[in-house]
Amino acid sequence: MAGVLAILEQRDGVLKKVSYEVVTAARSLADRLGTGVDAIGIGPMALDATGATKFGADEVVILADDRARLYQPHLYVRAVLERAKTKDYRAVLLSATALGRDLGPRLAARLGCPLAADVTEIVADEGIVVARPVYAGKAVYRLKVTAPRCVISIRPNSLTPVEQPRTATLQHAVIGLDREGPVARTAAMKAPAEAKLDVAEAPIVVSGGRGLKDPANFKLLEELARALGPAAVGASRAVVDAGWRAHGDQVGQTGKTVSPSLYFAIGISGAIQHLAGMRTAKVIVAINKDKDAPIFKVADYGIVGDLFEILPRLTQEIEKVKAGA
């Protein structure tokens, strides 16, 4: 068995932070297995994948073609399979993003191997053991990979990229662009009018629930998020179901699972299914008028009171801190 393959993810030719997380995980797994790390980057002509070497890739394969500017599943599958034919990888790693959640199972099916999806930890002891949160984080499986190879998708933000530069070789390859038979093609990427950070990727998330009373009041959260720096506004299931916020913003068991460094739960009582989606945040702050709300049981810091009085003050104080820093 030779090596660990890390699949890089890009947007507009620039590697995303999750790519460095994946290479970091691949490096640490490869070290314990006593093998090397290859990284593969697929994207437009302008793709710059050299950053992967900083985080420990020994070899970087770049497949740059403007037809791969957007995620085209069949191109990615083909590129990775062709690479995997030349080397029998022990593990193929990618991030459990929208792309990785689509690509990972396709690769596992075509490689005929198990997929360990959305793992938060990889332990190589005797063989490979992964931790997989299930029931939206209410429990965690420790699974041993008994197959000779596997595909592992890693939950974004679950590990910190570590720089360990290598003098890696960069190798440019060509993607075979045709595939027999019918395929789904990504025709366009619609970006929102205002570039928006995704709750699953944001380092800070400010979430609101029914306590906000009216959809228009989410502007208080938008203001707080703006003051905090790169931050996303999330929402509880109740307000998404009520049509106040988009489903893409929902944090919880039927929404997104987030692990930001700082999470604000504002006017959210803390139903089990919501707690499941945010309990791995590093620091949780809750603001609620009900001192017995379950959210205070998981929060590191809480303020009891009227959020409409507290939020403007909080935003103001954070602006002051940021201005002084």
Binding site: A109, R142, C150, A187, A188, A191, V304, I318
Partner: protein, 246 residues
């Protein structure tokens, strides 16, 4: 339509005595919420075309018959239970068992929920598609189908991908695709008479072995820093000096 029986989202999870699975006593099981969107979409396709058949397939124990009946009560025509009591953790094993049933079925659309809320592998749809050699779009939030082809939108980080595909195809449904109907009493009564075929299947063990299932570490108890806006400076102080996140 491939569906799954899962614990309700409000379930408090307890670990069973074997340390490798959940204690199912007192747990309420439901049709996987994302599968409801898939069932609804299948029914709407049939209604739009005015003909066709909606088949519901589930893999699992006998208890999953009840879940299939829920989909039949919503309006699906018939059900198939691929019956096994084995717990499978390797999604490829499940995908292969479904493919054996789906192959040669002549389906125009094969629909799944984007993930099952219990094991959240979000894997089976794309795996089945690759094994069958069919086009696939996962996590579909908006869909238009006509004249043997379709356009789907999927929400990704920082945008929405617009994907075009020919039929037949595999799609997995995200929340927001539609508003699933509630089974009416009439539907529930009718569902009892609809055909539900039980086919025992033997599944492989697969390449993932459960060492243990554990509860996540408890969070360290936090504290209420105060009441009302006057507590804001104390919070800022704690975030800066203790938590060091500001």
């Amino acid at each position: 339509m491939c569906i799954k029986r899962v614990p309700d989202t409000e379930t408090r999870i307890k670990i069973a005595a074997d340390g490798r699975s959940i204690d199912e006593s007192g747990v309420k099981f439901v049709l996987n919420p994302y599968d409801e969107y898939a069932v609804e979409e299948a029914l709407r396709r049939k209604e739009a075309v005015g003909s066709g058949e909606v088949v519901v397939i589930a893999l699992g124990s006998d208890a999953a018959q009840e879940t299939i009946r829920t989909a039949l009560a919503m309006g699906a025509d018939r059900g198939v239970l691929l019956k096994t009591d084995q717990r499978v953790h390797d999604p490829l094993v499940i995908a292969r068992a479904l493919v054996a049933e789906l192959e040669g079925g002549g389906h125009d659309l094969i629909l799944f929920g984007k993930l099952a809320i219990d094991d959240s592998s979000h894997a089976i749809g794309p795996m089945v598609a690759e094994l069958l050699g069919l086009p696939c779009v996962s996590a579909v939030a908006r869909l238009a189908v006509s004249d043997g082809k379709g356009t789907a939108e999927r929400e990704v980080e920082g945008g929405v991908e617009v994907v075009e595909f020919p039929l037949p195809a595999v799609l997995t449904a995200d929340k927001g695709l539609n508003e699933p109907r509630y089974p009416a009493l009439k539907g529930i009564m009718a569902a009892k008479k609809k055909p539900l075929e039980v086919k025992p299947v033997s599944v492989e063990v697969g390449g993932l072995e459960v060492l243990e299932l554990v509860l996540p570490p408890e969070r360290k108890p936090g504290r209420i820093v105060g009441e009302g806006p006057e507590a804001v400076p104390a919070l800022i102080q704690a975030l800066r000096t203790e938590a060091k996140v500001l």
